[in-house]
């Protein structure tokens, strides 16, 4: 039997990204999935990107991942969120045609040399404390040096609709039942999480004429740095609202909802509440907005974003039809809640490797996250970890000050997940620097050196980077007096100070167009490059200030804490603090600082204990 470098278990967003990255590194890789035809499926909302999430997709793309490309090829409604706010908090997003997205992923994977195996993984093989492959349900053994487990919602997945409970990983797909038990015997502590999805509607039975519409952007912004424009026709979404009648139906039947009847123990995401939650938690709100999102160009399936539910099917029909525009709607598939196993990611390595078995990596929802983008990013991180382990490739450094991926990995491994973890821009303390527009500047060079970035992309990036550098030099060389600036329409106090282009661009309301009047050389650069230079100028003072923060952070908090560090021996730590820290096992003082409730005094105590431990080692 063939011995693979890596087996990726699962063909969702984490799995697809992981296997593709493994192939980019030239690893001998196999993908094990329950159903080949479902690789790249969007289980829930047919959209990619958004705030925080769009940033993740750009970072995946900067490392030559596939999510952004697939989203662009299948995108049917591109919208840049927060367009009216600053570039740091703008997030590209698109609705995707579900079928086109899945096809795009499968096409990208088909180009790579990989082995696809259909089947359920029922166990992990191990040898000497390290993973040695997987056993399939039919008894087949497949050997490999590493395994990336991306089980999504399939581990002991249970679907709830009203009081009905079905074992399943997604609607109509089997759950993976056997793996959890083995992992528990290895010492894994599983928790239960919950998520939900709304009923799917027949678009032909919706009265679109009475509904408000939300069109795609006129000036679409792509997810991938390599894409130029949408590939397919753009469509609009409809907008409608729940009303008092809807809320009454839900209120009266709450006890029939799986979630409110005590059948579900898993914790659900607060930022993606079911309609039952919305009505219960915010009784004063008279109506809730619903986006009616087409699932594709050639399908009549509509995804009503905002009303996920676990009420019984008949009641779903009833409340949906109480909504304006949906009076005669046909429900094609009921909404449901799904509960699944996750393993608290506290204590995973920065590469997402577990300490249950050497060479076992976990990525995606199994680590307590939610969302396609979060999953894909983890798949990529795990694959890079595998390549490091097997081929010793240079690492791609993911840390809080240089990528959203770093923020997520640090959050997961040092804080864990108590509810499904989703990315927000507010999680990134260095948000002004970690923008969707500069993800390539932050990561592509490292990816190239590490070996996961193709020559094609690296060339495109280098060209952009050279252009940008040259354009920035032109801006630096400018020297404009307040009087000259005024002639170009830039209001400046007559302070007699000459300013360069960057300084002018940092003034609120000053655009590249204003500056171009003052410096004819700027006409030589494409609009994109100039825009990029303007983005950087806008935040330069803040980024400088934050860089000092980062340096201070690195200096004070870069101190590493050994894995086996005994917190109970540190004098001055409360017992609560000791148990928190022992559980989280932060890898550095910086990671310890981010743990809730850890005070500066506690950090000082740890630092000192570390120093004295080191001293004793030396002596």
């Amino acid at each position: 039997m063939k011995h693979f470098d890596v087996i990726v278990v699962g063909g969702g967003h984490a799995g697809s990204e992981a296997i593709h990255a493994a192939c980019r590194y030239g690893l001998n890789a196999a993908l094990v999935t329950l159903d080949k035809s479902k690789i790249g499926s969007m289980s829930c909302n047919p959209a990619i990107g958004g705030l925080g999430k769009g940033h993740l997709v750009r970072e995946i793309d900067a490392l030559d991942g596939i999510m952004g490309k697939a989203a662009d090829v299948s995108g049917i409604q591109f919208r840049l969120l927060n367009r009216s706010k600053g570039p740091a908090v703008q997030g590209p997003r698109t609705q995707s045609d579900r079928q086109l997205y899945l096809k795009a992923i499968q096409k990208l994977l088909a180009k790579e040399k990989l082995t696809t195996i259909e089947g359920e993984v029922s166990g992990l093989l191990s040898k000497g404390g390290c993973v040695d492959g997987v056993t399939l349900f039919d008894g087949t053994e497949v050997y490999s040096r590493t395994v990336i487990l991306t089980a999504g919602t399939f581990m002991r997945g249970v679907i709830h609709i009203g009081d009905q409970r079905v074992s399943a990983g997604r609607m109509g797909e089997n759950a993976a039942k056997h793996l959890s038990g083995q992992m528990e015997s290895l010492g894994a502590g599983f928790g239960r999480l919950k998520t939900g999805t709304p009923p799917r509607l027949n678009g032909n039975t919706i009265n679109w004429d009475v509904l408000e519409v939300q069109p795609a952007d006129d000036d679409p912004v792509m997810l991938s740095f390599l894409s130029q424009s949408p590939s397919v026709r753009q469509v609009s979404c409809g907008i409608t609202h729940t009303n008092q009648n809807t809320h009454d139906i839900i209120q009266e039947n709450l006890s029939k909802s799986a979630m409110y009847s005590g059948h579900i123990v898993g914790v659900g995401p607060r930022y993606c509440p079911s309609i039952e939650d919305k009505v219960t938690r915010f009784p004063d709100k008279k109506s809730h907005q619903i986006f009616l999102e087409p699932e594709g160009l050639k399908t009549n399936h509509i995804y009503p974003n905002g009303i996920s539910t676990s009420l019984p099917e008949t009641l779903q029909h009833q409340y949906v039809r109480s909504i304006v525009g949906l009076e005669r709607v046909e429900v094609l598939q009921p909404g449901y809640a799904i509960e699944y196993d996750f393993m608290n990611p506290i204590g995973l390595s920065g590469d997402l490797e577990t300490d249950l078995l050497g060479g076992l990596f976990l990525a995606g929802q199994i680590n307590g996250t939610t969302g396609y983008e979060e999953a894909a990013a983890q798949g990529l991180v795990a694959a890079i970890g595998v390549a490091k382990k097997i081929k010793g490739v240079p690492e791609v450094k993911f840390d809080r000050s240089s990528s959203y991926i770093g923020v997520m990995i640090d959050d997961l491994t040092s804080r864990g997940a108590s509810e499904p973890y989703r990315m927000f821009t507010s999680r990134a303390e260095f948000r002004l620097k970690l923008r969707a527009d500069n993800a390539d500047q932050r990561l592509t060079e490292q990816g190239w050196l590490s070996g996961c970035v193709s020559e094609n992309r690296y060339k495109a990036f280098s060209e952009k980077f050279e252009n940008l550098t040259a354009c920035k030099r032109v801006l630096s060389d400018m020297s404009v007096s307040p009087n000259e600036a005024r002639l170009a329409g830039i209001e400046l106090g007559l302070d007699g100070r000459r300013r360069n282009g960057h300084e002018l661009l940092a003034i609120p309301g000053v655009s590249v167009e204003n500056i171009a009047e003052l410096e004819p050389l700027l006409a030589n650069w494409p609009k994109q490059i100039k825009k990029q230079a303007a983005c950087e100028a806008l935040y330069v003072t803040y980024i400088d200030r934050q860089r000092r923060d980062i340096e201070a952070l690195a200096k004070d908090l870069g101190v590493e804490i050994p894995k086996n560090f005994n917190y109970s021996l540190v004098s001055g730590l409360s017992s609560e603090m000791i148990s928190k820290l022992s559980l989280a096992r932060p890898t550095s003082l910086g990671a310890a600082k981010n743990i809730e409730g850890v005070t500066p005094a506690a950090l000082t105590a740890i630092l000192l204990a570390l120093k004295s431990a080191e001293l004793k080692k030396v002596i």
Binding site: N45, G50, L51, G52, L81, N82, S84, K85, G86, A88, V89, P269, R270, Y271, C272, P273, K278, R281, F282, K285, H288, Q289, I290, F291, N305, G306, R415, F424, T425, S426, R427, E429, R431, L432, P508, Y542, R545, V570, S571, G572, K593, E596, G597, V598, T599, P600, A601, T604, A605, L607, L608, A609, L615
Partner: protein, 428 residues
């Protein structure tokens, strides 16, 4: 780890001064100067410098590791408190390898780092050391009693709420978020800023309670300012004469008034003059009286025009009480008549001003709050702009929170998210 040393007692002449040496090499370094006494047993030693000269006969006290204030090996040299003796020993210690002068607070810092004290204990200890007067003690007790922390809690809650509202506007702009959330943020920021400002203002007083107040005696030439100062001082510190313009420099006298340290300043008489030196003195008088907490205007006539603007806290008093029969408030430096009444009035005014209330009495707190307030001001400017740069407002607010963290402990992003989710129905 360096071994550090510094004078532990106040600088200046004294019967005995203590020099403390702390660190891993404390005993080794001491052995260069004399035989090291056993731990815990005081011993008299001849301390000999590196050239063989006797520095002093001193009492030495050695503490073992884990049994000292800093938690390290410590040697205390109790020497005769002459300035020369102390500086000689400090200089000799400075010549030793691996040994250097301690930075301010470094002993305490080491005590903190070695787990001998926690941060709160350090502050409490420092308050205790600083408290000289009843006022100072009361002030410290307010901080120790948690009044300061209570304020901090309110500020942090305000900023947390503000951050949550801004973040909701950023991260959930696609949801149904009210468009005017920034107005509430602005109100929260402003309320916090005002509250911090008032604590900072009181801190100025708090520092004064520690460092002393100033009272300037001002008036026209020859009204008896210097005579009054001499009377307050109880000795002749200023030259007095019948010649107008005798006082040219500012002369200061420090006295203890109801437990408050007060410096009285005699200034040059205010008038137009062609004398260069006198006019220098006069401009100095203007300068000093400007920064004085209280001005005592010494006048010869109640209706006299004042040459410097009078603040409510200032006092007008008639001069030469011994020569007048009027019923007004008058003093005489010459006979001392009315002087104790004047001092009484000043004392009253200062204690009114020093009504003890919550203040940032520690430099760390003061700096943190001042910096936080700066950030809050900038946040407010951003909130007033159209279009509103949400990400910059949020960044400034984050900087402000970080500054407050520095003073009170951390605000966590998870608590910001908690606030968002408990306030808005989010999620499509």
């Amino acid at each position: 780890m360096d071994t550090i040393f510094a004078q532990a007692t106040a600088s200046g002449r004294a019967g005995v001064s203590i020099i403390r040496l702390s660190g891993p090499q404390a005993f080794d370094i001491t052995s260069n100067f004399c035989k090291v006494p056993p731990v815990g047993k005081p011993a008299l030693r001849s301390v000999i410098d590196l050239d063989g000269g006797l520095i002093d006969r001193a009492l030495l006290l050695c503490f073992g590791e884990g049994a000292s204030f800093t938690g390290e090996k410590v040697v205390e040299f109790h020497v005769h408190g002459g300035l020369a003796t102390v500086s000689k020993l400090l200089a000799e210690l400075g010549k030793s390898n691996g040994c250097r002068m301690a930075k301010p607070g470094e002993f305490t810092r080491r005590a903190l780092e070695n787990g001998n004290l926690d941060l709160n204990q350090v502050e409490a200890l420092s308050d205790l050391i600083d408290a000289e007067t009843e006022m100072q003690r009361k002030q410290a007790m307010l901080v120790l009693g948690g009044q300061f922390s209570k304020k901090g809690k309110v500020w942090k809650e305000n900023l947390l709420r503000g951050a949550a509202l801004l973040e909701a506007s950023i991260d959930f702009s696609d949801d149904e978020i009210p468009a005017n959330l920034h107005l509430e943020v602005r109100r929260l920021i402003e309320a916090t800023e005002i509250s911090i400002t008032s604590v900072l203002e009181r801190s100025t007083i708090a520092f004064k309670i520690r460092d002393g107040f100033t009272v300037a005696i001002v008036g026209r030439p020859n009204v008896g300012k210097s005579t009054l100062l001499n009377s307050i001082a109880g000795r002749d510190v200023a030259i007095t004469s019948h010649i107008a313009g005798t006082t040219r420099d500012v002369i200061e006298v420090r006295v203890d008034l109801d437990g408050l340290p007060v410096t009285f300043m005699d200034t040059a008489g205010l008038r137009d003059t062609n004398d260069d030196i006198e006019s220098l003195g006069i401009s100095m008088a203007y300068k000093k009286s400007k920064i004085a907490d209280i001005k005592v205007f010494l006048v010869s006539d109640e209706k006299e025009k004042l040459l410097i603007a009078k603040k409510p806290s200032d006092i007008i008093v008639l001069n030469k009480a011994d020569t007048r029969k009027s019923s007004g408030f008058s003093v005489s430096g010459k006979t001392g008549e009315g002087v104790s009444y004047l001092l009484n009035q000043i004392g009253k005014k200062l204690s009114q001003e020093t009504m003890v209330d919550v203040a940032a009495i520690r430099e760390r707190q003061f700096e943190g709050l001042t910096a936080a307030n700066e950030c809050l001001k900038k946040t407010k400017t951003f909130l007033d702009q159209d279009p509103l740069p949400y990400e910059l407002a949020s960044q400034e607010l984050y900087f402000a929170s970080t500054q407050l963290d520095f003073v009170f402990g951390k605000i966590d992003i998870e608590s910001v998210l908690d606030e968002i989710f408990s306030s808005f129905c989010l999620g499509k």
